[in-house]
Symmetry: none
Subunit: 149 residues, 2 copies
């Protein structure tokens, strides 16, 4: 099948030179013996998950692959499942979770976009939550406590 070889050729070209448009890519491919149209390249580029940036097309480096987003469990579920306890120190809360779950829990909290939260940092089993002030820290502590319980 020509398609497969063409995909390989595209990968190589894209990895080795800056290619600014599908038409430029097309011309380079023609020189290598692949005579296809821009429409086909548009599809190929999708199939290969190539990215286009300031320097032309690029391979889906580090990033790229899996696109799983959305439908994450509710913060309540997460906390109920992994949250162990919350403690307060001035405007900061320290949330202890089961081992290894701090990261996802912090992510969940971030996504809530609460205005009691300035930001979170997660280690392995501890999430540090920074609040704007003690008052809001207390309020959040109560809420989290209730969710954990």
């Amino acid at each position: 099948m020509a398609k497969h070889d063409r995909h390989n050729a595209i990968r190589e070209l894209v990895a080795s030179a800056a290619i600014a448009s599908q038409d430029e890519l097309r011309r380079k491919l023609v020189r290598r013996g692949f005579d296809v149209t821009q429409a086909t390249l548009s599809r190929d580029i999708h199939e290969l998950s190539l990215y286009k940036g300031p320097n032309g097309y690029a391979m889906p480096n580090g990033n790229g692959n899996g696109d799983h987003e959305d439908d994450l469990p509710s913060i309540r579920e997460v906390l109920g499942g992994f949250g162990l306890k919350v403690k307060q120190a001035q405007n900061q809360l320290v949330l202890v979770t089961t081992a290894g779950s701090a990261q996802p829990v912090a992510l969940g909290i971030d996504h809530e976009d609460w205005d009691e939260v300035v930001g979170t940092i997660a280690g392995d089993d501890t999430v540090l939550i920074i609040c704007p002030d003690m008052k809001r820290a207390s309020r959040l502590r109560e809420r989290l406590d209730e969710m954990i319980g």
Copy 2:
């Protein structure tokens, strides 16, 4: 100037949601109070060096292709590339970065040896910066903000 704020808004939107076209970005910006045209966004996207891939626009994460890579990048470049926003809570600053870049960013800040910085802790996409007092925290916040923009 509104441009600066708009750039920040674009970074955040792009980092948090899948945006498939400049027109979609435009609609989201309008809801946030930025009323601009697609032409302007095309320029903004260039200025911000955003990439477009299968999942819409994205921040210029560790993409490794390109040519410009001289010495170690200045803290200014790092923040310009990966920093999203800074928030202050008393004597602490919370710096939100693109996913996975908090660690290097924190390293860069540490290396600056600023006297507004007592220390930093980095998670995945958040750096916590501890300052000696509110006054210096504010000063640093302004400086970082300016670097991000």
